[in-house]
Symmetry: C2
Subunit: 153 residues, 2 copies
């Protein structure tokens, strides 16, 4: 067996030997124009490091879960909803998604948005807001504008 190189080269936001995957199974939850690459997953590691990228106009699912997301923006800019507020994000900013906090990322600044996300290898499944929970979030006009998909102000 050929010895695996410890180095995997980067080119244009792809990495050698790393598959470009669908974000989730189609139809399992709302999302748009977003891909997933698993950069590090190893039985010896208790964490995983994934790279998610949205094309302009793309977004991740609005969801929450018990496990924590540790995010570093690697490319572009956009906005995220964390709990009850909307934040602008740009390359190399850090985002912490605390347990059971509603969150969504949107490439709503006319550019791609790519981020690294560290999670525990063992983690719970996300859940999506009910109609009532989503309405409660939209009481904040900044959140309503964000969820509507309007470009970043």
């Amino acid at each position: 067996m050929e010895k695996k190189s410890p180095i995997r080269r980067f080119a244009d936001f792809r990495w050698e030997g790393v598959d470009l995957l669908a974000y989730k199974d189609e139809g399992s939850a709302p999302f748009k124009a977003i891909t997933r690459q698993t950069l590090f997953r190893d039985p010896a590691l208790k964490g995983e490091l994934r790279y998610f990228e949205m094309a302009p106009g793309g977004y991740s699912t609005l969801e929450r879960h018990e496990h924590v997301h540790a995010v570093l923006i690697l490319r572009g800019e956009g906005e995220c909803l964390i709990g009850g507020e909307v934040y602008k994000i740009a390359a190399n900013d850090l985002v912490t998604v605390a347990p059971l906090t509603w969150h969504q990322f949107r490439a709503n600044a006319g550019r791609p948005l790519g981020f690294l996300c560290m999670v525990n290898a063992e983690r719970d499944k996300p859940s999506q807001p009910s109609v009532q929970e989503r309405s409660a979030m939209e009481a904040n006009p900044r959140v309503a504008r964000f969820l509507s998909g309007e470009p970043s102000a």
Copy 2:
């Protein structure tokens, strides 16, 4: 208590609220011109994400340990020694340091070298090579050149 923002902004390879730390205690092991910032450490996370940066000419300690390093180069270029071989590295390349593998990073290309490193929060301490082990590594002329601190070819 003021609510902590989930966003920590980036500027010039520093992050809001993140301390710039010494790489290790001085005198504990050989290293040069290298700093450490802990980007994510949280009791709810089984992994930690740290950022290490070397000024031109700087290097990390030559060492090994049971735990795995999952590395993404964030800035600049240089070389690393992984096991018995030397590799050029540049921004966004991935480096996997397997258990008990000798490794060292060097900013030997006239530029800073900065990298993210994911590790298990619970992990063993590194050990350094004996004189004999270092001599055995230097039998490879590429490794000998790397360890001598000569600039990248």
